[in-house]
Each structure stands twice: as C-alpha cells, then as structure tokens.
Amino acid sequence: MTNPAERVTNPAERVTNPGYNYAYLDEQTKRMVRRALLKAVAVPGYQVPFASREMPLPYGWGTGGIQVTASVIGPDDTLKVIDQGADDTTNAVSIRQFFARVAGVRTTERTAEATLIQTRHRVPETPLREGQILVYQVPLPEPLRKLEPRETETRRMHALSEYGLMSVKLYEDVTRHGRIATSYDYPVMVEERYVMAPSPTPKFDNPKMHRSPALQLFGAGREKRIYAVPPYTRVRSLDFDDYPFEVQEFDTPCALCGSSGVYLDEIITDDQGGKMFVCSDTDFCAQRVAAAGDSQGARDPQGAGGLQ
C-alpha cells in the first residue's frame, strides 16, 4: 500500500521542519500520551487524565486530537483529517499540512485509503475497517459536566456508575419537547459501564460507533483527558423503552450525489431563501458524484448535478 518512493524513512529527510522532533511532540510527551492511550483502551469509555501540552494552535481547534495523532502517527501512515465532514475546510487543511510537514506522512481525502483519520465532529459515511484508527477532537469530554460542575462529584459518579442524573436530563427533554431533543454529543454507554461523550458528532453517527471494526481514540486538550473505544466494543445510546433512540432522518436525498441515509448539511444558495441539502461527508459525496459521472458517461459530463 505504501509507495516506497514516497515513504520517508531516512532520519535526515523525515523532518522537513528542522528544530522539531518527529511529529512535533518530544519523546517524553509521546510516552506519557501513549501510556494514557493504552490505559484508555484497557478501560473503554473512561477518561484518562493526561498532561496535555501547549500546541501551536488555540484550544478548541483540536489540540487534544493533535496530541493523540502525534503520539500515534508514523511514516507508514496515511492521514485524513475531517472538519465537520469536510476535508477542505480550514481546520482540516491546517492539521493535514501540519502533519505532512512535521511527520512526513502521506495525506489523503479518501476514507478508504487512510490508516489514521483525525476528525472533528463526524464519523465518515464510508464504513471503517479493521486496522484504521479514528481520532476524535473533543471539546468537553465529561458527559455529566453540564449537570454537575464539580470534577470531584462527576468522578465519583463514574466510579459508582451512578448515571441517574443523565436519565433525568433526557427525561426532562421528553417532558419539555415530547421527545429526546439532544441531537449532537448524545451520551452513550460504553460496554455497559461508562457513560461517555461521543464528542459533538451528530447523534446520526452514534450507531456507527457500536462494534466498529476501527479503533476510536478521543483527545481533549484543554480538559486534559484521553479516552478510547476499542474495536468491537458495545456502544449504546442512552434512551427509554417508550422513547427509543432515533437518528435524524432527512426528507430529501443529497442534492449533489443523490444519497439517502446519510447526514446532510443545509446549504444556503441565495438571499431569496433558496437552499439545498448536501452530504456533510465531502469525500463520500465526491466519490458518489464521480461514480455517477462514470456510469452516465457522455450524457452528463458534469456529473450528477452540481452547484450552479
């Protein structure tokens, strides 16, 4: 899979930015993060405290995810970075370039080609496979924080598996809105032991976390927590018997590629109230459009539709 010509193994070539260690972090920091990652994998859903470092970008831009990626990444990896489903927005482009420079890795926008995927708030539509690692950027790792501000108390609640408060929160949703109104960062129960924040992914993505063949790692830089969901681990979205968990549904298919059953973004197209719904996952959408274009051949050289 790795093209030998592109593989950078010579220590002299591998850091294109002299002055920084490979993958930016120093080795001591990487060992600390790596030990935290191993314990996180051993206790799925539990938030392992770690000594988060200052990174060359502000909190909220993925400092936790970057530290996890930097501690995991090697020259054989192919990196994809997702920002709200897109590969071509600021955060995704910057982080991809960062690792291309400090780690000398190949980058890609294709989910299937990537060995390591750092993501901000989406799980790719293309199913992940065994051996891939998905790194989530997490702003608020503690699912109970908005219900109980004290760290000592939430820690105790996790220790006792005391999650009644979360059920009350979801129940209040039901009484107020007639349904569970939480639509992103929807709390999940991991391996029937720890309640975990899946990061602000739409709840649409929660079912993809359940028994995923890929390893899922979560990094919260400001809050200094790392957690993980190993492959084939049970991830259950919290709900009630009479108000079962449901994902978002969309009335129309993607306006670009025609996919249904995927997560759509609303795009405003003019100032007359015009709008369209398109795939949030740009790589998935582009591949569907390309495939449709191939099969339609000369009839529609522009592909199946497109932004006018």
Binding site: Y22, E27, L38, Y46, V72, A159, L215, P231
Partner: protein, 208 residues
C-alpha cells in the same frame, strides 16, 4: 515515587544498545502495543526491536521497556530480571526508577513465569482512577494457537491463544482480575520478537 533500589550505572561494560532509531522504532513498537491491547490475545510480531538486549531479556520485552518506561514510571523487576546488565540497560536508556515493592510499580518486568507473583500483588487502580494500575510485561517461551477462549472488547467473536509457560493458576488469577473491572492490571505477553495483550476487559472462558 520511592526508588530506594535505584543505583547509578556502575558497570565497566557499556549497556547494551537500545533502538537503532529511538524515535521511529518506539513509534512502531507503540503501534504494536496499541494493536495488541485493542485486539487482545493475538500474537503480533515486532519488526523493530533492540538488536542485542541483555540476557535473559528478550527482544520484545526490551522493546516494550524502551517504548513505555521513563522517569515517571516505577518499575519492578522479578528476581530473574534483577541483574546488573538489565538494570544498566533500563537505567541508561529509560532512566526509570526501580522499586522493590510490586505494589508500587507502574510496570513489572516478569522474566520467570514460574515464580511470578500473583496478579493481585500489583496495583489494580482506584475506583475513581482505574488507570492508575500496573502493566505487566510477562516473558514466555512461545504462543500456542490452542488455549482458553477469549471474548470481550477488541475481539469480534472469540479468539484462542496460549502463551506458555504461564505462572501456576494464571488463568484463575486473570479471571479474578477481569472480575475486578473496571479495576485490574493489564498484561503484555512477550515471546522472542512477538507480543500479545491481555487487557482487564477480556473475559476468559474455560479451555474447550
């Protein structure tokens, strides 16, 4: 952490060499460790081990030490590992404090399975901090494909593997360790240049 047993390297012979490429070899080894814990009880091969670790430390055991041990991790050595060449190797390359108390260790290097302490002798974490538990590196001779049936996170259906030789009554201890979940110790089995992980999440069923 206390480190009364810590001694400065005092040998006349220099310590055995570490990784050929300390940065990238540690990264490769870590990825194998991560894969071993995220996919328990499958024998993985380490392709970047230190060339000539001090006897009787095997290549995989040495690679794990160089990847994870440092000044923040008190290490307990079993009597077979507690020899000058190995101490020098660890102190020179990792700078890790050595502790005489198994219960204080973040990592334990167990080279003599027959005489290994019980798993319960090591730190199993605290209710509020289950991550504060020991990680054991248990060196065995080989991995056999038979053995008990394992289930749990990281295993799609079930898996079988038998490291040998194991401490007497090891699987009973491992079952008790699993029953402590979310507390418990995590174990890496190493044999030659191979490695397998046994996190506390793995359920162990009777050998069929």
């Amino acid at each position: 952490m206390t480190s009364p047993a810590r001694t400065s390297p005092s040998r006349t012979a220099p310590p055995a060499p570490g990784f050929a490429d300390p940065v990238l070899d540690a990264q490769r080894c870590f990825r194998s460790l991560l894969a071993a814990l995220a996919g328990p009880m499958q024998a993985l091969s380490l392709d970047a081990c230190p060339p000539s670790p001090p006897e009787p430390l095997g290549p995989a055991a040495a690679a794990v030490a160089l990847t994870l041990f440092d000044a923040d991790t008190p290490v307990w050595l079993d009597p077979r590992a507690d020899r000058p060449e190995i101490r020098d190797f660890l102190l020179f390359h990792c700078g890790c404090p050595l502790t005489p108390e198994p219960g204080e260790a973040a990592f334990a290097l167990l080279l003599d399975p027959a005489a290994a302490p019980r798993l319960s002798a090591f730190r199993c974490g605290e209710e509020e901090y289950p991550d504060r538990s020991a990680t054991l590196v248990l060196q065995v001779d080989a991995f056999d494909p038979a053995g008990p049936v394992f289930r749990g996170p990281g295993i799609e259906t079930s898996r079988r593997l038998a490291p040998r030789p194991l401490p007497p009554g090891f699987w009973d201890q491992a079952r008790a360790n699993h029953a402590l979940y979310p507390l418990g110790v995590d174990v890496f089995f190493v044999a030659g240049a191979q490695l397998a992980g046994l996190p506390r999440t793995t359920a162990i069923e009777e050998a069929v």
